[in-house]
Subunit: 362 residues, 4 copies
């Protein structure tokens, strides 16, 4: 199932070491102004090799638009975007043809399909997320046209926590000044040091990212199974390294009483609001008008340098495995634009479903 | 969006204080033996009034099967199940017509639809989950026919943690001996005491439940957007009170290194397995063959007895609100069968999609 | 696949001789005024036993609304409607358990599912269309709220052709004065005589019905695969007895030249229109603003009284079969409301998809 | 809605005069042997400029495979195919920016989207069908792996009828020897003469094509709304120029009695069959095991040379229009591979849904 969405629908394709990866976006309303640069901007934030703490695989990741946009305006027809794979070095993967890497999808793809492109993880490679980011850039433009902004930042790496508290969307733009995308400068320095240390030892670390959507109107989300938080959970959990998703105070809510958890209502300027936002902007699966807040737990990259135990798929004997290749010691900085993209895709789709965005023309 | 699933498809309907609630299950293969009792059994586990720590609303919740089963075997046609609403006392809700309860979906339904059935939460009531449980019972029978079992238990209430460690499916059946569905007898006693205390003060508490699926074969799950963990996250987050979902070690993975997190592979008896199961039985969105483990954070029931601040939807003035009615001081014990049902629905659908269950006949 | 539609979604269920048949309508906007009578009205037009030329099976076909409507207004939540099966006489079907009736779905259901409810055709019975008509009645109310009307009439039975030419929606209401739903009184008399003759000999006849949708605005329909005519073709062909569908001049277009076929454009009162309507109101799968015109070829009811050759499913030996039971000698008059319902379902769904009807509230 | 199918899912994209057109095929099982040549073969049958009776627009229509196939075997991941647009001459379309061509989708796209790529019909161009043919070629390979063959031929052009009667799949291969794809050599000659006459006068003609699927097992098709004939009707009607679809004897069934129409059952070699095949291989929406037979009525190409009446979209004044450019005087020969592709897509999807083809690996 390589398609996301009911109305604003996104289909991604491509293997890590094949000729290209790409996406078809169907259901974007006509008349939206969008240029190659709008898409490239976010691809650059996800691009490998953007700093010392990411993989040195060097890809320009240039988005080529093949349909759906004419004279810089969307046509309402499918937008096809292709991103060529360039810095592909497949022969380092030769020994992985028969030996699945622990923590990767090698074994499960083998179990499912029987036949796979083992080079660089094939379809299960994080490279697949480039296509999501391209689609997310289109979704973001559509949302921006309706005043909605989606912004992410890193709030924890390997236990080092950001103390940053945001008030407005602009605050979160600070994340772009940090190579680990953390708004708290002191924590950011510590995180960078931690990641560089891991890089040297050949190990990797995980962390937590937070994505916030501002100006989502009250009333977005489809009960019962299409709840806004349910869609967000699926969207974010569909990113390879994510192992947990929480909305608002999330796991903390399990320890509060009802009196502590409930956000009281008030009204200012003729508009109903909650006084606090422990719910993370969602009640009964529908937006309240407060910022939508979600956090994801990201596991450490499974590609680590040391010796690991695996099994030869043909002989079924245990073997020792050392994964070489070029990998991220910490995926957090690069996962932020991917998670933003997924949140944007959810919101674009649900705002159309909810009648907040016209399905055919902006 | 009141339908779940691509192939094994479930559509629920019904308002809390309307004549009935129910479900249509489409895509269940033909020839599966299933009786009214199989469905009733799980409905009884979800039923209000089953113990002193649940709401006193007294419903028999009798499942009436109207189609899809002939001579106790499924026909492959839609299975329609109706559950009549019986102990309905609507007039206690009169004052809620214009005043949304904090923490409930009253305001967001108003914001979305403009017009709603305010009695007992209408469609947003937890009563809706009775239909899910009925559908889940059918899914469980289908899974059981293929040796898969889905079992849940409560692992935390208001900070009180179960120390129970399971080894086999049978272990988890212990939960049914505890009225809070906790397998650790000592923790169970503490939890019961805590919930009874809350009941007296009119407040409520949240907690954490864990659902485990045993004997799921390797290879279940649809990359990229239909990952097993993504579907589970959506399914579980679609339950009203759930604010977070984690798979395997979940949030803890954010603090591990890659070396600590990876589950090494081994082979025993000609079958590949992981030596540990930090991944919770899922890699790259596809099952590994190990038990599937998910946990949900459940917020305290928003219906609390004390005075709360809200707003009159017509005058937009702040008002004081005291919610009367009959409510659960802790929803955890009753959420277990609901969460099991959702996991069963996900697995039934994905095992058909993956070719592990024949789509037309068992 | 017992669900129709993407946004306005209809799921039907029920076997001919089970306890009931019914439908769940999901995605109808909130705030639409609708009563039990609105639904019953169309059910009565489809009801068996309504005249001498239909089956004597006597069903009141009473629609019971179980959810989704509160104080006579839709809630935006699923509308569940149940129709009890009453005049069920199953024992006449005993010999059909092992012998498939020619022209019926008995054999193909057996081939597909292995296990079936053979009584009265089970799920494949025309009884299933009662649920469609109930759903269609809701769709028609939604369309009427947006000035769109869907009306059908019989244009041919066993070669006897109606000469009636309509100009306005009101003209087609004439059909309701004829027990074969033909607007041409002379042809109607001939048709009735023909059907009564067939009834006596125990044979059956087919014919052609035409469905017209008035006031559909220009711009309805989703290219490429969701074209308005494609959806109509599927919807109409999904009715059991339909063997062909045509739009506008249909088959006749195969014999015209481009110059003859093209409808020239003109503009009156600031609105673009076509001068003729050979296209049947659809160009490139999108409505032009002219009436949408479709015709269906309906095969004769396969239940005929004479001796037929079939095969025993267990012994695989040829057997002689005489079908008893109560059947329609001509299904045309009763198929009109069913076909109208299907056209209404298509239009409701596509008008929401096209932004002509708000998806959440009227 | 640019996606076809539930499990075997095809998404097409591309405008006639944009950089390229293409398709993403999701849900093709892994392990199927398929080469670029398998796809190119069918594209060549649809290619413009293949004979004197088709448009002189000269496109090589080379299929470039960008993903989903590794070492000539499908991976079970999305297959992305791109076809570059080459012989594009857009300036002849300049005057059509504001004047819709009669019989084309120019006006309806304008009415729907407000903004369109007017060059060569943009997304509504028949060029879009190249992507369908590429996808259909993949579906055909999957079907061939399961012994199913889909073949088409032209049975009528402008009233000239083929007298050809087929007995086996091989018979229909004769169509490839005729430039109008008609198996009856004498009729073919007449048809060619007719089309050439039209070409000279600048007019166009329509006709009828028949598509047959051989060796489809009994039991394919999803009641109630996913009937095999319903899906075929939608698939075929979604082709631009098609105005009618019939199954088996189709419209003729309206004039038969039940006794004449019913196909009696018999059994030979332990297999149940129908003695005749008036039903076209489908009963109750499910295949009987007999050949699936469908016919489509194709309207004459709307691009004709003479003067036509249209309206300026800005001034709303009537204008005279002469369409220049390079067009097919008769689309029938080139529509055959497109219709075959659509039938193949329907069958591939429904055979997977029915459990006849494994959804994950061949």
């Amino acid at each position: 199932m390589n398609t996301w969405g009911r109305i604003f629908r996104v289909t991604t394709w491509g293997e890590s070491h094949g000729p290209a990866t790409g996406v078809v976006i169907d259901g974007c309303p006509a008349g939206l102004r969008i240029t190659q640069e709008d898409i490239q901007k976010d691809l650059n934030r996800r691009r490998p090799g953007q700093s010392d703490v990411t993989t040195p695989r060097s890809e320009k990741d240039t988005a080529e638009i093949l349909s759906g946009i004419y004279e810089d305006k969307t046509l309402g027809t499918p937008i096809s975007i292709v991103i060529r794979n360039e810095d592909v070095d497949s022969h380092t993967y030769d020994e992985l043809r028969h030996v699945p890497r622990p923590g990767h999808a090698d074994y499960t793809f083998h179990a499912k399909y029987g036949w796979r492109d083992h080079r660089g993880g094939g379809r299960a490679s994080a490279r697949e997320t480039a296509a999501r980011v391209a689609a997310g850039a289109v979704a973001k433009e559509l949302l921006a046209h309706h005043s909605v902004r989606v912004l992410g930042h890193v709030v924890e790496i390997h236990g080092i926590q950001s103390k940053f508290v945001f008030e407005s969307p602009e605050d979160l733009l600070l994340a772009e000044r940090s190579i680990v995308r953390c708004c708290d400068a002191a924590a950011s320095d510590e995180m960078v040091a931690c990641v560089e240390r891991m890089k040297k030892t050949g190990d990797s670390v995980g962390g937590i990212a937070e994505i916030v959507a501002f100006n989502v109107p009250a009333g977005v989300g489809e009960p019962v199974f299409g709840k806004l938080d349910a869609e967000l959970a699926k969207a974010l959990m569909s990113i390879g390294a994510v192992k947990a998703v929480e909305i608002g105070v999330g796991f903390q809510s399990a320890r509060l009483t009802g009196t502590e958890m409930n956000d009281p209502f008030t009204a200012t300027g003729g508009r109903i609001k909650t006084k606090t936002n422990k719910a993370g902007g969602i009640l009964g699966g529908i937006s309240t008008g407060a910022p939508i807040i979600c956090r994801i737990a990201v596991k450490p990259t499974p590609s680590v340098g040391g010796r690991q135990t695996s099994v030869d798929l043909e002989t079924l004997e245990e073997v020792d495995l050392s994964v070489s290749g070029r990998h991220d010691p910490c995926i957090l900085p690069r996962i932020v634009p991917v998670a933003e993209a997924m949140v944007a895709l959810v919101l674009a789709d649900l705002m159309i479903q909810g009648g907040f965005i016209h399905p055919v023309r902006v």
